[in-house]
Symmetry: C2
Subunit: 232 residues, 2 copies
Amino acid sequence: MPSVLVMPRDAPAMKMAAASDYQRGRAGSEIVLYDRMTEDRAAICARIAAERGMTMVPPYDHADVMAGQGTVAFELIGQVGPLDALLVCLGGGGLLSGCAVAAHYLLPDIAIYGVEPAAGNDVQQSVASGHIVKITVPQTIADGAQTTSCGELTFPVIKQLVRDVVTVTDDELVETMRVLAQRIKQVVEPTGCLAAAALLTRKIDLRGQRVGVVLSGGNVDLPRYARFLQGV
Amino acid sequence: MPSVLVMPRDAPAMKMAAASDYQRGRAGSEIVLYDRMTEDRAAICARIAAERGMTMVPPYDHADVMAGQGTVAFELIGQVGPLDALLVCLGGGGLLSGCAVAAHYLLPDIAIYGVEPAAGNDVQQSVASGHIVKITVPQTIADGAQTTSCGELTFPVIKQLVRDVVTVTDDELVETMRVLAQRIKQVVEPTGCLAAAALLTRKIDLRGQRVGVVLSGGNVDLPRYARFLQGV
């Protein structure tokens, strides 16, 4: 079916190219770019959906999206067995809330942690204050977590099922990308390193525990990735 | 038990560091470096083994080493089912000969291909001439395949079970490293890209076939890897 993807103009070129590849040959499909600093993605999507009679699929704040992303935890625990703790990357909260539901279904006592960029700790603030806090677009290399707030649907799940939300800095993300490349040979984008960075920098006391860490996403342009590996 | 590793002085620093990590805390263990252009590894190993009463474990020319490396093909086919062809990286021939034995045991009709650096096509020459050809140390970025000849044990297996040996250039290896990072998010060292490079550059006509490709090894120093990704 035809699809219109609404993406921030500063998304990795590789991510745009891959998305465009998947759309190829589907008439009526296109990518619409917007400026995440000055434009409102939700409004743009709603307008396009109304004009073209399309269904809107939000990036995280939808039960099906949350459930789909929750299969990460479901499959992980299915493969490796019981875990004491699970660390999950956190932007809008789709992956975290879905994983929290799936993990708690399988392991009622598991401790779930969300990890967001220090520059954009809106969920940490939201959990502390008890309501959704909206921030300005955070400046961080974790472009997948440059969200200004979590979702109306993801927040209640996070509040109920997530033990804690911690943050990591961009420098810690870069160091984690290097460790993941060097030791487990995986190319992981900055946002996808959030959970691993919290583990490696010991933001949470997990000594003696059996810990799952979600690595999520490898959309990073090679020249930029190469600079991260070189530490510049 | 204590181990002495004899490694070329120009091996990746990351590989030495990882090897040294594994030796840590084992008294009597050390890494001995040699110059692959002017010194004879086999002679150095034989001398150390004799002096210290140690067992020599060659890098490829030993039935146990070949069998161990053959578990790659054994597990691959066990996981993905029947294949028409299997492409394997080729230096001294341990991985190739082991995979050829394992794959033919499971799939008698499978076509096995070895892929070596164009600058060091000693096995291609050996297969063509019917005897082991020894060359000077090849100049290639595939440092794990800078072998001067295949083994006394690996060669007969290759001659009998391998359909063909093809070569790829260093430029083709670099491009393959980029594709593997970009599309399957794997950090693979130049030598480990040999088989994938032959696939991507269509060195063998594999149209319509179900093909297995062995990616082998991620020992590449990050600054060097970053330069490869940047194409310099």
